[in-house]
């Protein structure tokens, strides 16, 4: 009759998944029903195969019944845990407050930095094709140029021969004068190949983008506007499409407006026009002025694309040795290329916040360990009454998860504030060059991250204490007056956690210390110019007027003279590059030295300046003479070089009188050496630079440098100067557009803002870590003293002096701190090397920083030990002994 019992076996088996609390009843109900039915059928003599099958079928239906009971299992116990957990946390308000605050700081810092990472590194663009987009550079290793623009010839080769790419698009930056409206304006823009928008997959907000043949000669001139320009100059007029505007004295028809978020290629440009090239340009393998992006075919990997571009460039080097030998090319992911700067800076910050969160976890774990010790009796009683260890651990983990989730909510609040502060930390004028900056904010990704971080944090800081707390030997723990047998192990864990905290915070402090030293170094480095009290005003002459160099020289000289005559002006000069850095590059040959091959020609920074420029920005002369008014177009061609140039190319030989040649122009004689000026990234004050006199190389776009007299409210004075200068300019030529006017101070601040922000962030995180580690050590010492009250009492009863007791505690604390510092120093030595690429003037292993930080940490921890140590000396031996 065994076969008839299959349904009962099924019920027993399915019953395993029924919540334990309900299981017995559940099984009984089913078994009784089945047995009753079976008996009835047997009685009626109807127990045949069909009815048996029906019983089995019904037993299988019990599976659904059991499955639908699952929520009760979770609900009941989880709610119990949650309710109990919340009650415990509310009962110990001080503990809860400190733990939640600690975790909130850790989680908030992480959410803030994650948000920045999400916007700036993970999703700086939202192009549909972005995974298939690469940037392609040419490279001249002989001349030390890693990323050069591309020649039209090379682009033509790739378009003809590549099999990996769907299409290539090129763009180059240009500037335009918008005229024919009330206020002429100098604008930056982009000349792009017709496929530019298509390659990116970008759609216009209004109208259309370029058609495939719109970059060929003879087509109507068309322009696509950036959203900001449309808004600012055309009042967001939806009827703008089809209207014409005057750009650089030519007429363009507006065919489209891009959506607000479209800002490619992040250089502050506000319009795109087709790049019309002459058919002969495809033979040009010398002029590198195109920036090229490629769209890979859907099934082609980035590495394949890169390999093909390299192979084609090697082929070109063989076919055109005169221009291409020593030149190769490579492709790099668009995202990777455009997020280089952000990645360099953010990766350290991300490491730093991870450390902060770890320290916060260690701190809370320590608090929980201490609470576990206090609650040992309660937990032991529960386990003695039959609670499973896992059940008690789950209860404790629920509590730590509750803490972490509360910390997450508060932390999210902190990070809303943090992200806003971060978004405002970089001046607008600079932030627009950073891809993704405008997307900075708390979004779904950040929310998800916070939830995840909270859960991980809850488990991370709760697991060890829960494990420890439930490990107790019930017999020992429940004995009256016992302090529990796991005290030793627990204390070891607490000590280890504090050592880890100290070590982690030391690494952070060293990192922050190095960055701060490096930043101070930058501030203390003589930048080679003085940004105080100086206005920089850029003027772009229209292309169709002032076509002759003399006209440009005359206009700018006249303007400079008028500026110098204004009240409150100390010095005036003109240049084509605004310090810091801002120079273009030029390749040159040294007359009298063996010529470099074309691809190995050295490059140097090139600045055009008037005689007054050096006085206006206070770049001092080191040897020879500065430019004079006599160095004009008719005079011998002259040049100045900076000290770095002199050192690199002439070493100990005399520099003055040497001659440099630039292409086919007559050579320039070096007449003087001026001080080095810092480059635009503020990380190198010794890049070689050549200066040309404005009168011999009169450009169209120049910046007027006006230094005000020393004045109590210097910046205000300079701002007033800007107004006066505008009037002078309008008096000379009312149709001249001004593009930018800002003080050198502003430029300097903008340029230094990423370093300032990163230094500030690391500084804040390091201080946070220091504070947490100190609090952690203090808590551990206080707890140790409380636990050792009895022992201290005995010692004092046996004749120990206060001093001895004090020293015992302090020694214990310093041992922990010392061990942490030693481990931290080793860690810091290993980790801070990664920082070396953003350090300036400081070695990553700078001993001064290491020693200072270590002693700072030891001092602070000493202070954290003194209070518990003093408490220990206050122990009354009688009371302590009685307490037992």
């Amino acid at each position: 009759m065994r076969d008839t019992k299959i349904h009962l076996w099924l019920i027993r088996f399915i019953g395993l998944i029924v919540p334990q609390r309900l299981r017995a009843d559940w099984r009984q109900e089913w078994e009784a029903e089945l047995q009753y039915r079976e008996a009835t059928l047997a009685e009626w003599d109807k127990l045949n195969w069909q009815s048996k099958f029906d019983l089995w079928r019904r037993s299988l239906g019990a599976f659904w019944d059991a499955l639908l009971l699952q929520p009760r299992r979770l609900e009941e116990e989880m709610f119990q845990d949650l309710r109990f957990g919340a009650r415990m946390l509310l009962k110990h308000k001080a503990f809860t407050f400190i733990a939640v605050l600690t975790l909130a700081l850790g989680i908030g810092a992480n959410t803030t930095i994650f948000s920045a990472m999400e916007a700036l590194i993970l999703h700086p663009f939202s192009f549909p094709n972005q995974d298939r987009l690469v940037v392609i550079y040419e490279r001249m290793l002989g001349a030390g140029v890693e990323r050069a623009n591309v020649t039209p010839g090379a682009l033509h080769d790739w378009r003809q021969q590549s099999r990996s790419f769907e299409q290539f698009a090129s763009f180059n930056l240009d500037d335009f004068e918008l005229t024919g409206t009330d206020q002429p304006e100098h604008l930056r823009g982009c000349r792009v190949s017709a496929g530019f928008f298509g390659a990116l997959g970008a759609q216009p907000l209004l109208g259309r983008t370029f058609q495939p043949d719109e970059d060929t000669l003879g087509r109507e001139q068309v322009v696509v506007l950036k959203h900001s320009l449309w808004e600012r100059r055309f009042g967001s007029d939806p009827k703008i499409l089809g209207q014409t505007i005057r750009l650089s004295s030519q007429t363009y028809t507006v065919i489209g407006v891009m959506p607000r978020e479209f800002n490619f290629p992040f250089f502050g440009g506000e319009l795109w026009i087709p790049f019309v090239s002459f058919p002969a340009a495809v033979q040009d393998r010398e002029h590198r002025f195109l920036r090229v992006i490629g769209l890979l075919k859907p099934d082609v990997s980035r590495a394949q694309g890169d390999a093909e571009i390299r192979a084609l460039s090697l082929q070109a080097a063989q076919q055109h040795p005169a221009t291409n030998s020593g030149v190769d090319a490579f492709a790099i992911g668009l995202n990777e290329d455009y997020t280089r700067g952000a990645r360099m800076y953010l990766s350290f910050t991300l490491g730093a916040v991870a450390f902060v969160l770890l320290i916060a976890c260690a701190n809370v774990a320590n608090l929980l360990l201490a609470r576990g010790a206090v609650r040992q009796k309660e937990l032991a009683v529960r386990m003695a009454l039959g609670a499973h260890r896992w059940r008690v651990m789950r209860q404790l983990l629920t509590e730590s998860l509750l803490l972490a989730l509360a910390g997450g909510v508060l932390g999210l609040g902190f990070s809303v504030w943090g992200v806003t502060a971060l978004a405002n930390s970089i001046p607008q004028g600079f932030a627009r060059f950073i891809p993704g900056w405008e997307r900075l904010g708390i979004n779904v990704w950040a929310l998800g991250f916070t939830v995840l971080a909270s859960l991980v944090t809850g488990v991370l800081c709760g697991l060890l204490p829960a494990w420890q707390a439930t490990k107790a030997d019930l017999n020992e723990t429940l004995k009256e007056g016992s302090k529990g047998v796991t005290g030793g192990a627990r204390n070891r864990w607490r000590n280890s956690l504090v050592v880890a905290e100290v070590a982690l915070s030391l690494v952070l402090l060293v990192g922050a210390g190095l960055l701060i030293r490096s930043f101070i170094e930058i501030l203390n480095t003589d930048p080679g110019f003085n940004p105080d009290n100086t206005l920089a005003m850029t003027i772009a002459l229209p292309r169709d007027r002032y076509t002759q160099p003399e006209q440009r020289v005359n206009l700018f000289q006249e303007l400079a003279q008028r500026a110098a005559a204004l009240p409150g002006v100390a010095a005036v000069g003109l240049t084509d590059s605004v310090p810091p850095g801002g120079w273009g590059e030029v390749s040159f040959q040294i007359v009298g030295q063996p010529a470099f091959p074309k691809s190995e020609q050295p490059m140097a920074g090139a600045i055009t300046a008037t005689p007054g420029y050096f006085a206006a920005v206070r770049t001092p002369l080191r040897a020879g003479r500065l430019f004079t008014e006599q160095d004009d177009a008719r005079a011998t061609r002259v040049a100045l070089v900076n000290e770095a140039f002199a050192r690199r190319y002439f070493a100990d030989k005399p520099v003055i009188g040497q001659r440099l040649s630039f292409g086919d122009d007559p050579p320039n004689e070096i007449v003087g050496v001026v001080a080095n000026t810092i480059n635009s990234d503020l990380d190198n004050a010794a890049e070689p630079v050549i200066y040309h006199p404005f009168a011999q190389r009169a450009g169209r776009v120049m910046t007027l440098m006006v230094r005000g007299q020393p004045h109590p409210s210097a910046e205000e004075n300079v701002t007033q100067l800007a107004g006066a200068m505008r009037r002078e300019l309008a008096a000379l030529d009312a149709n001249l557009p001004i593009s930018e006017s800002k003080t050198l101070h502003e430029s300097y601040r903008e340029r230094s803002s990423p370093k300032r922000v990163i230094t500030g962030l690391l500084g804040i995180f390091a201080l946070l870590a220091l504070a947490m580690a100190t609090v952690g050590l203090y808590a551990v010492m206080s707890f140790a003293v409380a636990q050792r009250r009895h022992e201290i009492g005995v010692r004092m009863a046996l004749g120990a002096q206060s001093r001895d007791v004090f020293l015992i505690v302090v020694k214990h604390g310093l041992c922990l701190a010392g061990l942490g510092v030693i481990l931290g120093l080793i860690g810091a030595y290993a980790v801070t090397r990664l920082l070396s690429q953003i350090l300036y003037g400081v070695k990553a292993s700078d001993p001064l920083t290491f020693v200072t930080v270590a002693s700072l940490l030891l001092t602070v921890t000493l202070v954290a030990c003194i209070v518990p140590a003093r408490l220990a000396t206050k122990v009354d031996p009688l009371a302590a002994l009685r307490h037992k």
């Binding site: 029903e33 009753y36 079928r57 019904r58 299988l60 239906g61 659904w64 019944d65």
Partner: protein
């Protein structure tokens, strides 16, 4: 499961209970619903206070050498819910669920 949202199958189960079918298997027989529907429905009805479950007397079970069976009864609330459901499911009233003639009178076990 609010009063107004009794599904048709739940209403049938209530009706079966009202007609005197008190055991899960009997309800299956008379309604034709599978066990995977009837039992979960009974549990939810009990949770919502529409039915009460009781164990039959031990003595009866012992005589038959099996565990005591569990039976279900409509509460007042359950009756109200059924009345409301009947007013919505007109067909249900006409559905000929036979009345259990030999409805045993059970005492609490």
């Amino acid at each position: 499961m609010g009063k107004n949202y009794l599904s048709y199958s739940v209403a049938i189960i209530l009706k079966a209970l009202d007609n005197g079918y008190q055991y899960g298997f009997d309800i299956m027989d008379v309604t034709g619903l599978p066990s995977g529907t009837v039992y979960p429905a009974l549990r939810r009805l009990e949770e919502n206070g529409f039915v009460l479950s009781k164990w039959e007397k031990h003595t009866i079970a012992q005589q038959e050498a099996r565990p005591p069976r569990k039976y279900y009864e409509l509460t007042e609330e359950g009756r109200a819910a059924l009345a409301e459901a009947l007013s919505r499911y007109r067909l249900l009233e006409q559905t000929l669920l036979p009345v259990n003639e030999n409805k045993p009178s059970r005492q609490e076990g």
